[in-house]
């Protein structure tokens, strides 16, 4: 069943990292419905993504994002 998720990832503040994140969504054919990026510390950017996906896909996606070297932390919450 598809649900809406809010993914918050803290990533390294440098060129190409956002590209890596979005390519993980592309790989699983997940459409990004909203995207916000903000420099939160000199080293880090916090990105917030909303997507509508089946739970299983979301779990795999979050696991992959979490294992990326440029991702400092990741949380994923279901949006009501």
């Amino acid at each position: 069943m598809e649900k809406t998720y809010k993914i918050t990832a803290v990533i390294e503040n440098r060129i190409a990292v956002l590209n890596k994140i979005t390519s993980a969504f592309l790989k699983r054919h997940v459409n990004i419905e909203s995207l916000n990026t903000e420099k939160t510390t000199p080293e880090a950017i916090t990105i917030t993504i909303m997507a509508h996906v089946p739970q299983e896909t979301m779990q795999r996606l979050a696991a992959q994002l979490g294992s990326m070297w440029d991702v400092i932390s990741i949380t994923c919450k279901e949006e009501k």
Binding site: A16, S23, A63, G66, S67, W69, I72
Partner: protein, 564 residues
């Protein structure tokens, strides 16, 4: 005090030396000339092997890494040089191989202008690298190379790509090399199990009536071969392996029963369906291993030892995850494991092995099939050889019929199934381990995908033994067309050149075998040869690989021969 200044290119070479890199596979070109210019002065410290195509460089780096456990390194120029690496990078990502690919890029000021030989290497390789970085200033060289090597080899290894713009190669920088140590919170791999998990896992194994261990490549990557053997022996637990786990456990060991998977052995697949506990170590339950997932291991509790937490529960349900290093986990488990007799289970397995008729058919008297050639190398080489394969039927026969007494002895493209991998990977393996007998099994199709690397064998004097199993077909595809597409052979026949003349053109001694009775003497001659040798075995044209689990079927549906 001011530090000495050197060019970015030299900083790169010094950084490689600091990482104890001794061998590099590569191919020069315009944007990477400054690096090659610096290399000219480092020839005494860095052994550069000139390949014939960049795909050869990356596959050689993969073979090097898998044979030695060190990080494989390759160089390629910008644009087409870099794009020629793609297949090998994707292969290394699938098979968790630690490599660092260094590609040149046009100068920073020319980026984004469709400059000659500009390609967006970072974007192109994004989905298939563990990490990548484009260096645009010489000062970044040392820290980025340090980070690249750390990432390539740590935890679950993988390919890293470092792109370096032309200006960063020629500019000067202060040089100081500091190994990369990530901040603890950024370290991606940690053991995440508690005492309670270990006890539960041990208890589950100790109380099992029909337990089995599946070893994957993670065992090799963690250097856990001895520890896993100790674990299996402690509990008297039967062991099987995945395709990439082959040689992580000695094939002649009384507890070892072969490989699981689509073209695995009969007994291991049926053991999986009958086991009540599966201890899976360093493997990822790929579709080739599980067959129909819904019907996979219906009676088993699964204990999964795996360093990459993203793999836990990805395809099959896991009852007890042990996230962490295979070696640490095996060492922690062993003292808790009790030795149990389980005579019924061992007898059942022996029964399965006796019921496997595929072996008798493949090795029957007078018949020159692929199995006979692989078996001859295993027998006459006493299982000492390091076997490299390409992709296809010969790969599966190599997996089924080789014998191994030493670890890191089977190198094959598993996850990506890359034809053309074999020859360059075998070159890399031999460069890494000149002390070992390296034997390549390759099909007539796959050989011609990287045939040009015979030039590398010749120029760099690589003492590799090449066994061409020639069936004049793209055999594996032909088998599928025969079995599942009404024998409609659509573009699988090969009109081949005279391979002996090709070997001769490269100065490689060669021999052709066309009957079974010549096989042993020819293999003996090959193994006795000092340097490179090319043995063409003209095998039965339309042989099929069995056992086989048809796509989408469960492991119980394994076929041992053609359905008539």
């Amino acid at each position: 005090m001011k530090k000495e200044e050197i060019t970015g290119a030299e900083a790169l070479l010094r950084s490689l030396s600091a990482e104890a890199v001794e061998d590099v596979f590569g191919y020069p070109g315009g944007s990477i000339i400054p690096l090659y210019n610096a290399l000219y002065d480092y020839r005494d410290r860095l052994n550069h092997i000139l390949v014939r195509h960049e795909q050869g460089a990356v596959h050689a780096a993969q073979g090097y890494a898998r044979a030695s456990g060190r990080v494989g390194v390759c160089f390629a120029t910008a644009g087409p040089g870099a794009t020629n690496l793609i297949t090998g990078i994707a292969d290394a990502q699938m098979d968790s191989t630690p490599i660092v690919c260094i590609t040149a890029q046009v100068a920073k000021d020319n980026l984004g202008t469709h400059f000659f030989q500009e390609a967006d290497t970072i974007s192109i390789t994004n989905p298939i690298t563990k990490w990548s970085y484009e260096i645009t200033h010489a000062r970044e060289v040392a820290p980025v190379i340090a980070k690249a090597f750390h990432i390539a080899r740590s935890g679950r290894p993988g390919p890293v790509l470092v792109s370096i713009t032309r200006n960063a190669q020629t500019e000067c920088t202060e040089y100081e090399y500091v190994p990369h140590v990530p901040r603890p919170e950024l370290e991606k791999y940690r053991s995440e199990y508690t005492e309670a998990f270990l006890s539960e896992a041990a208890e589950t194994i100790n109380t099992a009536a029909r337990p089995m261990i599946i070893v994957g490549q993670g065992v090799t990557l963690a250097g856990a071969e001895d520890d896993v053997r100790a674990l299996a022996e402690a509990g008297n637990i039967p062991v099987v392996s995945t395709l990439l786990g082959i040689s992580a456990f000695p094939t002649g060991h009384r507890l070892f029963h072969g490989n699981v998977g689509m073209h695995g052995n009969y007994a291991p697949n049926l053991m999986t369906q009958n086991a009540d506990v599966i201890l899976a170590i360093g493997m990822r339950f790929s579709d080739r291993v599980t067959g129909n997932v819904a019907r996979y291991a219906p009676h088993a509790k699964i204990i999964h030892v795996e360093i990459d937490r993203a793999e836990i529960g990805k395809t099959v349900r896991v009852d007890i995850p042990l996230i962490g290093d295979a070696r640490e986990a095996a060492q922690a488990l062993t003292p808790r494991i009790e030795n149990r007799d389980r005579a019924d289970w061992h007898r059942f397995i022996e029964g399965l092995k006796a019921a496997d008729t595929s072996r008798r058919t493949a090795l029957r008297d007078g018949y020159l099939g692929m199995a006979a050639a692989v078996d001859a190398v295993a027998r006459l080489g006493s299982g000492e050889a390091l076997v490299v394969t390409d992709v296809g039927q010969h790969q599966m026969f190599s997996a089924l019929y080789s014998r191994f007494v030493r670890p890191r002895s089977m190198i094959t493209s598993g996850g990506l199934g890359t034809m053309g991998f074999g020859l360059p990977a075998a070159i890399g393996a031999k460069v890494a381990r000149p002390d070992r007998e390296v034997v390549l099994f390759v099909g007539d199709g796959g050989l011609q995908m990287s045939l040009q690397e015979l030039g590398t064998v010749m120029q760099s004097d690589v003492g590799l033994k090449i066994v061409l199993l020639n069936n004049s077909f793209l055999g594996m595809v032909r088998q599928w067309q025969e079995m599942f597409f009404d024998r409609r052979y659509s573009f699988v026949e090969m009109a081949n050149p005279d391979f002996l003349q090709i070997a001769a053109a490269y100065g490689i001694p060669a021999r052709r075998v066309e009957s079974r009775c010549e096989l042993d003497s020819a293999v003996g001659q090959m193994l006795a040869a000092k340097g490179a040798y090319f043995l063409e075995v003209v095998v039965e044209n339309e042989e099929n690989v069995f056992p086989m689990i048809p796509a989408g079927a469960a492991l119980d549906d394994i076929l041992m021969q053609q359905k008539t």
